[in-house]
Every structure is written in C-alpha cells, then in structure tokens.
Amino acid sequence: MSVVQENVSPVRPRTGRAAPRPRLTPVAIVYLALVALLVVGSVLVGLRGEVLLDQAGILNILTRAAALGLVAVGQTMVILTGSLDLSVAYLIGLTSLIAAETMAGRDGMVVPGVLLALAVAAGVGLVNGLVITVLKANAFIATLGVALILRGYLEDNYTGPAGDVPRGFQHLGYDRIGPVPVAALLMLAVAAVAWWYLSRTRPGYHMYAVGGDIEVARLSGVPTRRVVVTAHVLCSVAAGLTGIYLASRLGSGAPYVGTDAGYDLESIAAVVLGGTLLAGGRGGVVGTIGGVLILATLDTIFDDLAVDPFFKDVVRGVVLVTAVALYARRMTARRARGRLA
C-alpha cells in the first residue's frame, strides 16, 4: 500500500479508469445507418432513373415497417427482460384467423373480433410466461414448443385463408394520410406507449433490471416472475395486433401470414439490429423502430433494383452480423475499461 502511484489526483477518484461517455449510442448508430442507407439507396435507384423516396416508395417502406414494427416492439420487451419469443409468427396467423372469422363480414362484429383476437394472444403470452417462470423451461425451447403447438392447430384446422373482414375494417389496412399509412401511425403509437412504459413506469424499470441481472433484481425485491410474464403477455398482444392488421389488409385470415414473412426471426433481427442486447438489460423501442425501418428500406431498395431474392438475404445477413459485431466490440471495450484491477 506504500507503492508509489503516478497520476494520482489526491482529491477526486481518478476518472481515467471510468469509461468516457460513449461517443455514439447504438440508437444513434442505427439512425445514422438508416440515413446512410436512404442516401445510398436513392443514388442506386436514381441510377436506374427511378426515385426511391417518392410517394409510392415512402408508402412501400412504411407499409412494410408497420407489421414488422408491431411484432418487433413486443419482441423488444421480452428480449429486454432476458427472454425471447419464437411463437409470434404462428400467433400472428392464428389471430388473423380469429379476427376475420369472428367478423365474418359483419361490421357489428369488428370490435368483438378485435377483442377476441387480443384476448387469445394475451392467453398465449401468459402460457409462454408461465412455462418459462414456473416450469423453468428455457425461453427458446418454451416458445418454440408453443409455436409448434400453434402450428399443429393451424395445420389441422386450416388449409388456406378463412374468414371475411368487412369493407369498413379494411380502412386500417389501406387508408393513408399523404404517403403515411394509418397502420404505420398505429405502429408508432404502440411504439410510443411501449417507450413510455419501459422508460417511465416501474414495471418497465423492472424489465431492464430482470434482463440485466435476474439475481440482482430478485435480491433487490423485484417480482421477477411477474415481470417476465408481463413481458410475454405484452409481446403476444403486440403479435395479436399484427395479426389483426394483416387480416384487415388481406381481407381475411391466413394461417401462414406470419410465418411466410418470417416474423419470428425477423422481429428478433430488428430488435438486435436496433441495439438491444440479446441477453437483455439494455436497449429499447426507439432503436428497434430504427432496425425495422432499415430492414423495410433494404427490402424496398432491393425491389426497386429487382435484385435476386437470394442475394437480398445475403445482404440482410451481412448487415445483421455487422451490426451485432459492432455493438459487441463497443461492449467489450467498455467492459475492459470498467473491469476490476
């Protein structure tokens, strides 16, 4: 203890060891990447003599973003809590059918159809949450199992689209204000509520705590089970909303509308692309929306450029891996600085 120390400031703790404020947060990176993508995309599409961000282009991007955004906002909550939900894609198919079949073309049944679809979604989320917290099944396996159960039900009972959505309800799918679809506004409203919930309310704080370190949370008196179950219910409700929206767009329910678009893995990709740690505890909805917009923009650019669909997947994979590697580097750099001597 009598070792001579250099650079010791006698009064304040030395902050040299403490990490300097990160130059850019993942959220900032995501939106900068989005802007860069829009610029590059506009140039590339421009070279073909077309315009990326004309009315149709914006509409295209936002329409794609609406459905994925709804699922991804829910997925953000479970991932922040340190969990994961692989059952959303089948749940989207199921809720689209429940909504459309309940409505059966009658305007008066719109509200009951929506409510029933959401209630079933919440029930599925409750099952997911309870299997994970009470039966202590790993989230990956638990939600995969629930996904298989839903698939079995869908395959057993449906061969194709079913149910009928009244014309009035199709406004949700097709109305727009200028180039902005109503559904995109719905998605942003849901995202805003989720943002408020996560960053301003006590249960939201607890989601970050449980995802950050479940033992620390438990020892600090956080009701960890309730938090995980809540996150799963909210995630499934978000998936239910997606199913309802897609039913309104298709005019009927379709068993594979969620899986065809790969909303399970796609939503996880969007969340991770948005800078949320897959292990939980850090991230948020704002980044997720950025991730969703990047994926939607990429798709639109590829369509405009008429790119080979397989090459499209290659690029998406590269983008995803690059993003996660980038965040991981920042995390390890930070951890190395904060580590004990």
């Binding site: 703790p13 309310t201 620390v216 008196g221």
Partner: protein, 501 residues
Amino acid sequence: MTPGPATRVRLRGITKSFLGVPVLHGVDLDLRGGEVHAVMGENGAGKSTLLKVLAGVHRPDGGTVEVDGTEVSFAGPTDAQRAGIAIIHQEFTLLPHRTVAENVYLGREPVRRMQVDRRRMVADTRALLDWLGEDGIAPTDVVASLSVAQRQVVEIVKALSTDARVLGMDEPTAALADHEVELLYDLVRRLRERGIAILYVSHRMREVFDLSDRITVLKDGRFVTCAPTRELTSEDLVRHMVGRDLGEYYPDRARPGDLGPVRLALRGAGNDRVRDLTFEVRAGEIVGLAGLQGSGRSAVARAVFGVEPFTRGVLEVDGTPRRVARPRTAVRLGIALVTEDRKGDGLALRQSVRDNTLLVRRAALRGARARARSDLPALLGMVAVVARGEHQEVRFLSGGNQQKVVLAKWLAVAPKVLVVDEPTRGIDVGAKRAVHELLRDLARRGVAVLMISSELPELIGMSDRILVMHDGALAGELPAGASEGAVMALATGHGLAEAVA
C-alpha cells in the same frame, strides 16, 4: 465485552456447519452504533460465514442473534434488511447499464401519477451522496462509467437508502487500487460519525489498524479474542491469527541433491494483475506461492498457463524463452495447471472418469499419443482414484476423488511444470495426504511444482521454498519451514518482513 446501551447487534454462540464440516464454533460478536468492528482471521477462519449469518444468507445451526435487544431469526436477506442490516458483498450487486439512482432505488422506485418519480429518485440519491460527501458521482451517471471505488460508494448508498443502521463490509478494499482505499477510509469514518454500526471483515493488517475501534480475531471458526484496537499490536494480531497446533504430517522435502535444472523461470514478468515477477522453479522442487486472496497468486498461475498471459517480461521453459498466449501452447510446452475451481474449470462433470482423464491428452496431443489409452489403469492407480469404474461420471465422485481425476488428467500428458492452485480445497484429510504425497512424488520424478494454497500449514509443510505475494508483486522469499508469522507478515504488507525473515 459488556454491551453498552448502543449495542445494535449481539451474536452469541453462533455455530454453523456445511455438509457436516463445522465452520463456526460458538462465535460471539457485538456491534455498536458509531463503531467500526473489524473481524480478522486467515482465509477459512469463518469471517465470511459470520457475515452471511448476520446478513440472513445463512441460518445459524445454533446460537442467538439479537437486534436492538430483541432476538430475531432471519429467514432470508430481506428479513435482515428489514431489521436495518445491510451487507456490501465482495461482488457488486449493481446493474451496469442503469444509472446510479436507478440502481439505488431498484425494486423500490417511488411512483407518482403512474410514473416512476425520477425527479425524486434523483434528488433522494443526491441527498444521500451529499450526506456522504461524495460529490464525484452524479445520480444520473451510468454505473458502467464509474470506477470500481465509485461503484462501491453506490453499493453503500443503496444499502443506506433502506435505512440501514448496521453495515457489514466484506473485504471492501479487495477490488480497489491504493489511492481508492483512502477514499473508502474517509467514507467509513463518515459513516461511523453518523452512528452507523460497521462490521469490517478484512485480513489486511494496516486497514484494520487504521480504521477499527475494536477487533475480533477468529481462527478455524473459533472466537480467539476481542479487544479494543488501541490495546493490540500487529504482533499480537499475527500471533492470535496463526497460533495453532501443527500436528500434521507432510512428506519429506527435497534434498539439495534432488534438484535438477531450472524448468520454469520468470524474468520481470507481469500483466495488468501482477508485476515484476522474477523467480525460478527447478526440477524436483516444490515452490510454495503464498499470499492473501486478491494478492495475485492465482493470476500468476493463470498467466503461466496462458489464460491471461503475461504482457511484459520473459517466461522461460527449460531455459528457452517462450510466449505462452494460450493454454494450448502451455500444454504443448509441458505446463499443467490444476485450477482453484475444480468443478468449474477442472472437470467435465457429466463425463466419465475415463473421458476426463484423457481430456487433455486428446485435446492437445496428436496422432497415436492422443489415442493412447493403454496406461489409463496405471494413471488412475497412480493417483488412487476410488470410483465404481472408469465409466462413472465424475460428478458422483467425492471431492477428493474428483481432484485425483484432475491430477490424473495432467499426468496423462507427463508435464514438466505443474502449477497447482488450492490442490486440497474442500477435500477430506485422507485425500489431502494422498494429494500431498503425489505432489512430492512427482517432484522426485523431476517435475517442477509451483503450489498455491491459502492453508498456511499445508503450504509451509509442503514447500521447499516459499514465495510470498502482496498486491500483485513478490513481497519476499522464505526458506523451507518458515513460520506462519513470517509468511503472514509479508503477505499482509506488515513491516515485520526483515525482522522475521
């Protein structure tokens, strides 16, 4: 020992055993408001267990706990918190990505109009930080951006925010740099002035003398003495801490003629945990590496084995400088490491005795040598593993037999340099003796052994020379059969070094 009116916590006759092994035998302890009460003892003396009893983590098997004159029984840490007792553990319990205020009020966030009242949370946290005179930390700082010392302050603020009147601190300086220790001293003194009762667990002599008002010494789970700090000298303390009967048997040491060439040599080696290490280990020799927890003993072992390699200086094997950047390189060079954490790092618990024994050979060697298994019975016989067969999963073996499998795993690649970290931790007396004899036997066959142990009698009994570490550097070297006092003096950085050695 007569408890004054300010006695907040009174422990009487606390006993505790784990799996039949007694750890505490009837320990008494009083904690008074406005007093720093240090508990000292060697590693394994029962200090941390006592602290955990106070924290409600462990339930005592016998004895009573009184808080403010009322007998209590804690079912868990939450009960202890409710009684106003908070513990700062060695590992931090903070969420790195959240702010200071969010951590302090975790699980107890104030709510106003459906929202977390962030303004109040921040204000209350700032008030506590001000109360402690900590103006270097803002409630809105993210914990990951704070220094280790500052994180400790946050832990303390978190404890205080629950209205704790009794604060237990377990080796609070273990993670701190020297200049940060001074800051912690200030903080502890301020807490004392404000009437908090502090239980300060440490084995660092200087800290205890600098800070405490009273000292309780534990040895092998027994209460030795409790006296006001000003009535004790450091010589008294060392004597109280180590005075024990040395009725154990150890194999004969190496004779001068047994020593062969230098197998392992470090010249000015260091990394971010240890520095300026220069020493040699010869064939046929067991060199003991002593030091307190956190002194860098295990870091030396990990560096030699390439887990967290040296970044400075030279490491030589058989006289040739080598760069050991990975364990695989170390194994190929004939270096073996028996880690401290047998179950975590040493064994694949769900695999068989046979697979574990052949693990390193299969992983690091090539061709026929890797496939060789004809000598398996000989290997297992050499370490005298007792198992139902070579196909039994090692998790079903006793600790001693598991450790023998770990040793067999390394014997399978015939190492030249064997580093053993706590080779007899948690194993019974019979197995201990077997491990001791095996290590000496290996030395006689020309292996250079570097042995780390927190058990001083064992280290002294086994070693041909003892290197003592303190704060990441070598504090000195002692000959075979040095006294425990001499080792402890060097290890605690106590000024007795020259006098005793």
